[in-house]
Symmetry: C2
Subunit: 174 residues, 2 copies
Amino acid sequence: MRNSRSDVVEAALRVLDDHGLEFCSMRRVASALEVQPSALYHHVPNKQTLLALMADEIVRGVATTGEDPAAVCRSLRGALLSIRDGADVVATASAFRLGASSVEARLAQLVGADGARTLLLYTFGQAQATQTQMQAYAIGALPDYPRGDPAGDLAGGFDRGIAIILAGLEASGR
Amino acid sequence: MRNSRSDVVEAALRVLDDHGLEFCSMRRVASALEVQPSALYHHVPNKQTLLALMADEIVRGVATTGEDPAAVCRSLRGALLSIRDGADVVATASAFRLGASSVEARLAQLVGADGARTLLLYTFGQAQATQTQMQAYAIGALPDYPRGDPAGDLAGGFDRGIAIILAGLEASGR
DNA sequence: ACCTGAACACCGTTCAAGT
DNA sequence: ACCTGAACACCGTTCAAGT
């Protein structure tokens, strides 16, 4: 039973979610597929390309059909947070090179190019910070969170940031 | 002539700027200091800690004395861009865990906590995207930039994003 | 206090060879 | 087309030992 390129990408995403980016090595992906490391290079030219394919997959599910830019941003944030180190993978593999992504295109229709870019980069930075902080709490590196629910506070902060940006776009007449 | 912890951090920053994060290994830092790799562990418990110290150093120079929040953000962006892969290093080493940074504290004085966080995370995402894109152009991976100056366009986009956020804060009455 | 030398368990990638 | 096996030049980290 032999593998396809999407088998490799799927396996890589499983390894990422189970072990984190630090341990998402070609050799571990290979052994998840019960295959020699060198076999991966039949499907993918190098690790960088594999990471880019993973980033595309992570972003693929984002809902871009609605009319509410905040909802698009929340959906993007959800996708980035749905997998361990997802924000980091998408950041460095850069599924957002130039204005190529469909998410940015949709946001640009709704609020213009500058607004789209601002919303996108904020969402991105916020998701990354969220994931870094949640991991720090999980490790116990930030032991005493001031009473309560870090994930909820982080999400609330995100919504307020999006509201500020949308208010700014409204004020400058779109 | 023996080394101190700051010698190690300085050497690591030189290696980072010369070769990039991918090749900024403990072994390369060691050989830059003409020392065995194991010697580094006398000054630093592990690589992660070294990266955090590097991140602190990168952010240390940011000008936080002025009254203009946009100027603080521009200074932060400048610091992140002043060294190769600087935005990535600060992002993942996360000098912005909780609200610990002096930059965030100063911005919070000027525009409140939510505004500070929004400005900071946007600045952060934008710097990272800038660095990723500039590197792509340097490699030639994005061969045909539509006539002109990528760095300037990126900086212009940054200023417009900051203006949008500040307008939003103004509109929501600070 | 700061360093060497050797070792351990890993990496990404290439390449000839198999089916 | 897809894979194995072996090799190359690397990693981070530990630990006994030196000065």
